[in-house]
């Protein structure tokens, strides 16, 4: 009986912790499937987490924060699209620079708003989300799977990433498809960040994403750039995270496992997952190809 309770608790913790990862992985999915490498997910998430928390606190409403995260996600996504699609900057370099920019801008703005560089003020517990982001994340996976294979615009996305020349020949602008995809990518990943600051916690704390943007990217690769397998990979990483939280302070006999060893578990699992499954994963053919 106790074991069942433990199992259920762990399962629920995994699903909760998976929420930000799922959103970010779906964001990565949009961008990478359209042919744009996206290592800026971390920055998208951070901006969503921050703006979501600030606006959510201002209006004492998680939904307002959620809407604001959507907006900022679209903006940051558009900024990234401007650099990689229009200005033809290297996708990995500008992605990393965007992460750095967001990491610098957040304390800059916090200082102006609250005269400190730490966390934002917290939402009241009853204003926080209960399960809504988790439900939305699950829905998003379903919707994207259907949309990708069953609709015309879904196929545009696929072709932009696999065979942009063909898409161009059929009279659709690869540039526009990629713009839309990268903006959507920003929005989804920002929601991932907002589910950190409005669902798992009740405020923004500095660098709270802790590499989740990159884990989401790893989940996407591990899941062969497909929504449902990527979702499952997110569950795996979230499970490692849940175990990490549960194992803190656990003793084996006399020795307590150092908390730092436990904390690196999710990162280790990510590396093992990426390293262990070669060959089966094929990236979109035109991933990283510029000039459309």
């Amino acid at each position: 009986m106790e074991l069942t309770a433990l199992f259920l608790a762990l399962l629920f913790a995994t699903l909760r912790l998976a929420t930000p990862l799922i959103f970010a992985a779906m964001g990565g999915f949009m961008s990478e499937r359209s042919g744009v490498v996206n290592v800026a997910l971390e920055g998208f998430m951070l901006s969503g987490a921050f703006v979501g928390a600030v606006v959510g606190h201002q209006f004492a409403s998680a939904w307002m924060g959620w809407a604001a995260a959507l907006l900022i996600g679209l903006c940051v996504g558009a900024l990234y699209a401007l650099f990689v699609i229009e200005l033809k900057a290297d996708q990995i370099i500008s992605g990393m620079a965007l992460n750095l920019l967001v990491m610098g801008l957040i304390p800059f703005i916090t200082k102006i708003l609250y005269n400190s560089t730490g966390s934002t003020p917290a939402l009241l517990v009853e204003d926080r989300f209960r399960v809504e982001p988790l439900v939305m994340a699950l829905l998003l996976v379903g919707v994207l799977t259907f949309w990708l294979y069953k609709t015309r615009s879904g196929l545009w996305l696929l072709f932009a990433g696999e065979h942009p020349q063909a898409l161009l020949a059929s009279g659709v602008s690869v540039r526009k498809v990629r713009w839309a995809a990268v903006c959507a990518s920003g929005a989804f990943a920002a929601w991932g960040g907002a589910s950190l600051s409005l669902f798992l916690a009740s405020s923004y704390s500095p660098l709270m994403t802790g590499g989740r943007g990159f884990m989401a990217l790893a989940a996407l690769i591990f899941g062969k750039w497909k929504p449902v397998p990527a979702f499952l990979a997110c569950l795996l990483f979230a499970f490692a995270d849940a175990m990490q939280i549960r194992l803190q302070g656990v003793r084996i006999g006399e020795v307590e496992i150092p908390v730092q060893f436990v904390q690196i578990l999710p990162y280790l699992v990510t590396i093992i997952a990426l390293a262990g499954f070669i060959g089966k994963s094929r990236s979109p053919k035109a991933l990283g190809q510029e000039g459309f």
């Binding site: 229009e86 200005l87 370099i93 620079a97 992460n99 884990m215 990162y267 590396i271 390293a275 070669i278």
Partner: protein
């Protein structure tokens, strides 16, 4: 030239942002220059930032020449610095000329190993080096924190730092640069950094391995047909990148602090990306670029004291905008296109 202009654009945009904080951008610029070069003390601090940035810039650049993106310099230097501190604390009996050499070699080896992991995973498992190195950064931070707090903590301090290495490991007494800039962490490793940059230039352009490494980066297919092993070069490049980042142990542990202090690095590994990019991955250009970024970082860290509205994190905004300014080389074509459309 375009790179320099990109740099200026990035810097100007960053300075204009300070308007939002109610500051005068020109005033901020003056503070930046003054606190970077204002006195021998300031210059010494600037140079003490320059040294690790040269190492990290070289680290990012050598991986770049092999077509790889090393975001892992931060983790590599962390592992190396902790190793140097550990050797110095655990083997205090080693006599002087040998001691720094042993400490430095151990740091190089561990740094190289940490870089090699990513190279090996890339070569044999096809894992994306960007994600792997980021994950390795987090793991290195975790390991370093455990080792510092649990294995060799400083018994005389509440700060999260290791015990001091034995005096045999420090080359302070022979350090001319340190004498020139008293009371600052600037030290002779700046000379080593410049020598390493020269060595790397020779390696890349005057040796067979260097040629093979660049061939793999610039044209993998041709390199493959010429019988160059891509896998071998990827591992070599990442191991060298790790070793170069590991050289930070020289300036930090053996040259100045004599210990590993958690959080000593203001993300040198990431600033190294900006340095390499600014210098177009040219080892000699990296020396100048590192000096420039070191000056900006020193200047920005004084904004905390000099203004009430802008904090040291502003350094990150400057770095990011400079990277974007330099990376967006398509800007020029875009402008031309616009002009043509108008006509």
């Amino acid at each position: 030239m375009r790179r320099l202009l990109g740099f200026v654009i990035g810097l100007v945009v960053a300075l204009l942002l300070t308007l939002f904080a109610g500051e005068n951008p020109w005033h901020i610029f003056l503070i930046l220059t003054k606190s970077a070069f204002g006195s021998m003390y300031d210059l010494g601090l600037t140079l003490s930032y320059t040294t690790p940035l040269i190492f990290c810039g070289l680290s990012v650049a050598i991986a770049f020449h092999a077509g790889l993106f090393n975001i892992g310099a931060e983790g590599q230097l962390t592992m190396a610095v902790v190793t140097a501190a550990a050797v110095g604390v655990l083997f205090p009996e080693v006599p002087f000329p040998l001691a720094p050499l042993v400490g430095f070699s151990a740091a190089l080896l561990v740094g190289a190993f940490w870089g090699w992991i990513a190279g090996w995973l890339r070569a044999y498992r096809g894992s994306h080096e960007v994600i792997i190195t980021i994950m390795l950064n987090f793991i290195a931070a975790g390991l370093a924190s455990w080792f510092t707090l649990k294995v060799i903590p400083n018994p005389h301090s509440q700060n999260p730092e290791t015990a001091l290495v034995s005096a045999n490991y420090m080359f302070k007494d022979y350090d001319l640069i340190a004498r020139l800039f008293p009371d600052t962490p600037a030290n002779a490793s700046l000379g080593f950094a410049i020598v390493f940059a020269l060595l790397m230039w020779i390696f890349l352009w005057k040796t067979t391995w260097g040629f093979e490494l660049r061939a793999v980066g610039s044209n993998p297919e041709a390199a493959h047909r010429a019988g160059i092993s891509e896998k071998k070069m990827q591992m070599l490049a990442m191991a060298l990148a790790g070793a170069l980042a590991g050289c930070v142990a020289l300036s930090e542990v053996l040259g100045s602090a004599g210990q590993y202090r958690m959080g000593f690095s203001p993300d040198y590994g990431f600033i190294g990306i900006a340095v390499a990019l600014l210098a177009n991955n040219n080892p000699l250009g990296i020396i100048a670029a590192a000096f420039l970024m070191g000056a900006l970082h020193k200047g920005a860290s004084d904004l905390d004291l000099e203004t009430s509205t802008i904090t040291r994190d502003f350094s990150r905004i400057i770095q990011a905008l400079i990277i974007l300014g330099v990376a967006a080389q398509g800007y020029w074509e875009w402008m031309k296109k616009k002009k043509r459309r108008k006509n």
